[in-house]
Symmetry: C2
Subunit: 294 residues, 2 copies
Amino acid sequence: MTKIAFLGTGLMGEPMARNLLKAGFGLTVWNRTQDKALPLGAAGARIAPAPQDAVRGAGIVVTMLSDGEAVSDLLFGRGCAAAMAAGTLVIDMSSIRPREARDHAGRLAAAGIGHLDAPVSGGTRGAEAADLAIMVGGDPADFARAEPVLRAMGRPVLVGPAGAGQLSKLANQAIVAITIGAVAEATLLVRRAGADPRLFRQALEGGFADSIILRQHGERMETGDFAPGGRASIQLKDLDNILDEARALGIALPLVSALRDRFHRLVHDMGHGELDHAALFLELLDRNGLPAGT
Amino acid sequence: MTKIAFLGTGLMGEPMARNLLKAGFGLTVWNRTQDKALPLGAAGARIAPAPQDAVRGAGIVVTMLSDGEAVSDLLFGRGCAAAMAAGTLVIDMSSIRPREARDHAGRLAAAGIGHLDAPVSGGTRGAEAADLAIMVGGDPADFARAEPVLRAMGRPVLVGPAGAGQLSKLANQAIVAITIGAVAEATLLVRRAGADPRLFRQALEGGFADSIILRQHGERMETGDFAPGGRASIQLKDLDNILDEARALGIALPLVSALRDRFHRLVHDMGHGELDHAALFLELLDRNGLPAGT
């Protein structure tokens, strides 16, 4: 079976790597903070002291990092790409800019190394359940080779050439951010009217307004438990990237712009960047002059 | 088995009444435009020439009309309530204002007639599949009596006292309108970047951004087929009602306000009130100076 290197075993990467182990893949992991990789060692992964060690001899290298700079630094700045054999396939599951993904794909191709951009949606719960939506951009032959690995973590779909996975992830994040805004306003309306947000969500199940956001993030808004999940600061980064991409394409996205400004307020004025993005509910309360817990 | 009168067999009411027939209920139907009730006659319903005739002898009266004035006019203006025996139960499945529902419930109670507000979500497809989300406000004993009837049309949940069903429906519509706005922006972004909106929707299945809106309304945006479904003019009415209710509760709902203005533009400036509410995509294209079909 293909030997896999997994670089970046944080909040999302850890359960994803664990599912590769469960599926029987031989796995070498590396994380910047090595402590976070130790539980995977107990589960059967080899822990590499440096990323270059992890990728040596691997047929497939999975990266799950915070942004495009982190991926670029690891691959090209710290010499990971140079340590890979020709014919290696890099599956970058980080959420980065489409143009960065195209750039990485081009630079790796020059060294005979394949590349797929394969960002995910579904959060830590989706990662744990091996039920992530995986949006893939790249070459169909590389996709075929990656598919058994990706299937161990979720449901991959090849949506187009290099960069198309990241573009789809941005469009996905646009929907997520705006839907969180929608659920926040519905939750506030229901709560202020004296009805029960839990029964409200239950009544909506299976209807047009139903979504994972309604069920999971609606519950977070109700209970006030904003442990992440997906961090508000990451959501803000995604919204900035969406607007960059939209500007490059010459289009205006008014709801994305509005949500970007409100997440900016939540993260930078209210200091809640480390909370789950469902904490946009706190921004809505604040905007209404209502204290948290109202 | 309880005899049921069904008043208002339009786009939604017709398939809902048909599911009551399929479930074996004895059904008398009335519609303002009688032609629209004729197919139900062929399916086994008795067709009443006037609404007062329909409700006479019925144990349960279901109403599915366009707005609160239509319901009030039928019940009190045209004497339907006066034609009902004490102990009759009115299930109003129309989408009307919470305060109107509370008013109707109070006036009927004075005549010994029960009332549930039980608006729905799920559109014509949900109505046909007997899979509507049904948000119910009223008395638990009345709910227990109505439940077998409601179950023949969908999944009822009692969310609170009189008016709570309508309030939940408004909150539901807030989510629907905003999510349509979200899917429109994602579809435009994906399309302008040269990726495939159909594969995009497929890739998102089961993830955080997935919803019936993404699948059904996203497809309408892609194909440009805006036959309703839910009309844009009705969506605008709902958004106005949400903002009325929010004002009465002293809260600001910024995304609802933004969508209200854009649906107003779609309906009144662009003249698309009769199209499906997914036609908000046309408003986004127009706002970007792009022709329909772009």
